[in-house]
Amino acid sequence: MFRHYLLTAYKVFMRRKLFTAINLLCIVLTLVVLMVVTALLQNTFYPTGVEGKSERFVQMIMMESTHTEKTARRQGTLGYKLIDQYLKPLKNAELVAATSFPQSVSIYQEGRVSDQLMRLTDAEYWQILDFKVVSGRVINADDVAQGRMVAVLNESTARKLFPGQPYLGQKFSANGQTFTVIGVVQDEMHVNAFADIWTPISAQPSSDYKNNLFGGFGAIIMARQPEDLPALKKEIMEAAKRVQFDDPNFFNTARFWGDSKLALFSRTLLSSRAEDGDAGTLLTIIVVLMLLFMALPALNLINLNVGRIMERSSEIGVRKAFGATSRQLIAQLVLENVLLCLIGGAIGLAGAAAVLWWLEGSGIIPYLKVHLNLTVFGYGLLITLVFGVLSGVIPAWKMSRLAPVHALKGNA
């Protein structure tokens, strides 16, 4: 039976080649857009590569400080003292890294100024994130302890600053300090990994940063295994209750949360104070937006399908007259549509790969590297099926409702 349906579908597709082509084009265009979006989201929230251990770590960039009796509220980045005193001793944490956010620095070379993004890190940062070292080495605990003026560059920056020269051992001046290049790593575009230049946290003109509860840093906290994450998150929220402020008259209550990538994003976007950062709400919003985006192409496909099915009204009349139920007819017509969508999905996947390849090369998003993995393929398939059923059901239902007499005569 199934083979029969497939054969009929094939014959129908071939009979009206132009229509099939138009149909297919619409499907491919829609699916390419959806798959590119899915791939980008997947890559952002469930990355592989440099932040591949993300199922084991949580991130923290904000803390909220309030006073029980006053209205003042501060929401801002963490200070090094907070990370050092309250986060490093966490029992469920294997490693706790402190890193500043990438800040723009100007590098002056003979007759040239280049703007680069610099990140201050400690040694744990390099143990949590898996950078691919191209040459030299990354920052280690010794560099941080000694406050050595060393720097790690990424490939693009190294090429830009020292074209045609060996990179290691080069000196450059930024923020009025001179750094020596000790290593070059591959370009990376991820929330925690993104930067052009990395230097030790201690390579600053003053060590005032060590005494600040507020300002300039984020933390990455890695558990020993993914199963420990819920306990770690609990422990982090508990730690917030112990925070002692420098001036208890101003603030006396701190709140912070360890977040997965998705939760961090939704917490920032929705300024959420929920335990899970309202990640579910964000996911719902994304899915609804995608469905909305699908509405127009789906409607378009419905219109095309209605036309195509109408042409086959006599065929459907015959089948009805010989006792086919409405359900069987709907199944057949939806199947045909899903089949077309699957073909479109396959082409769309190739198209999405091409678009992503172009996006990586174009430099619109710097250092972007997207891997079209099995998960993205799975999501793509799911999107395709939803789209196929969405656009196939209405025309099929409409057709199957026809009275056999009218259908046989071909005047629906």
Binding site: F19, Q204, N303, L304, G307, E311
Partner: protein, 398 residues
């Protein structure tokens, strides 16, 4: 004729309804993009109220909060003016063409007309440095040193809101406070036509520039604005940075030319529009294909009917016109419904000034033309195909 066409459309209402729905959705998408674009164009035409061509900004970063120490600011000013390229030096709480914003609530002295106002603290030299022109009154200066209230320069929009029909110069207003303490009193010394610190694409807001004096008050100025001699090369940045480092070595200075800051600001603000436009283009291409397909199927199905008309004496042109006119009627209907929905937006004022009537009208006309053009293009070929058939062929068409 029109009644006839409407009747034909009504006869096929269920199919036409789906088609109309599609056109309606497409119209909404085009409208959104066009309205967005038109608003940006409108904003771009408005003056920003400050220059950018020879202005540079230096943002100061330090591990601790900056101290408001008059000696340091005096050193900075002298040290920078020593450089031959520097024409003028001013201090401000933040730079222009930056995403920063500072808002506070203010009222008139009697506590009425509470407004949330964007503010920026600037030193006396700021106006000359930024090439600003006063529309009414004067900019504040050392003349205001012993005034009873803090001097402030406000923009025209705020002046019209608070003092309509009155001379705004010399009027008082106060900072709103939640506690018992008295808020700071301000006296308007001057009015500028416009001041938009984020640049060309910033929505006009109520803006006030208050006077910042080195050593007075707790807040330090985090930003230095410089006016340089025209034609100063970018590499001057290295010498500028060296000079700043001589004055305070433990601070970090982020130097940006306003021309660069402006370019990157404009780019950042147009990115959403570009992304939306690309997606909309995708959708429109799809709608065009769909419309084309559906119209073609429709005309194919109606060939016997068309044959009858031809046999009764209608010429090819009449058939052509009928197909196109039917499609136009359908599009018009769909767009009227869409406009009926859309007109609620400016009526209820959900988007405030962003979707004003000029933008709404322009967007409606432009997006309607896009949809009409699309309908015309999509019905040309099916119309031609139907009109080409001779009556005998058409009547016998199976």
């Amino acid at each position: 004729m029109l009644r006839h066409l409407l009747k034909l459309i009504w006869k096929r209402k269920s199919r036409n309804m789906m088609l109309s729905l599609e056109i309606l959705l497409a119209f909404l998408v085009v409208f959104a993009i066009v309205a967005f674009g038109l608003r940006y164009w409108q904003l771009y035409q408005l003056p920003t109220g400050h220059d950018w061509k020879n202005q540079w900004s230096v943002s100061i970063r330090a591990a601790q909060d900056l101290p408001n120490d008059p000696a340091i600011y005096d050193q900075l000013k002298r040290g920078l003016l020593d450089l031959p390229e520097v024409e003028s030096v001013a201090f401000s709480s933040f730079g222009t063409y930056e995403m920063s914003r500072w808002t506070e609530e203010y009222t008139l002295p009697d506590g009425s007309h509470e407004l949330t106002i964007d503010g920026m603290g600037v030193s006396d030299e700021y106006f000359a440095t930024m090439g600003m022109r006063v529309a009414q009154g004067r900019f504040f200066s050392s003349m205001d040193d012993n005034a009873d209230a803090a001097p402030a320069v406000i923009n025209r929009r705020l002046a019209d809101k608070w003092f309509p029909g009155k001379n705004p110069i010399g009027q008082l207003y106060v900072q709103q406070t939640r506690g018992k303490s008295e808020g700071q009193r301000y006296r308007v010394t001057g009015v500028v036509e416009q001041f938009r610190s984020h640049g060309e694409y910033m929505d006009p807001v109520d803006f006030m520039l208050s006077r910042w004096i080195p050593g007075v008050g707790k807040e330090a100025a985090n930003n230095i604005m410089l006016k340089l001699r025209p034609g100063t090369p970018r590499i001057f940045e290295a010498r500028l940075n060296a000079r700043l480092k001589q004055i305070r070595n433990d601070w970090t200075y982020i130097i940006t030319t306003q021309a660069d800051a402006r370019a990157s600001m404009l780019k950042t603000q147009t990115i959403p529009l570009v992304i939306l436009a690309v997606i909309a283009a995708f959708l429109l291409v799809m709608v065009a294909f769909g419309l084309f397909g559906v119209l073609w199927q429709n005309t194919t199905q109606r060939i016997p009917e068309i044959g009858l008309r031809r046999a009764l004496g209608a010429d090819a042109g009449a058939i052509y016109r009928q197909i196109i006119a039917e499609q136009f009627l359908l599009s018009t209907g769909a767009m009227l419904i869409a406009l009926l929905l859309l007109v609620q937006l400016p009526l209820t004022g959900v988007f405030g000034e962003t979707l004003n009537w000029a933008v709404f009208g322009g967007a409606a006309v432009l997006s309607a033309s896009v949809i009409y053009l699309l309908s015309l293009l999509c019905s040309l070929y099916p119309g031609w195909r139907a009109a080409r058939l001779s009556p005998t062929q058409a009547l016998h068409y199976e």
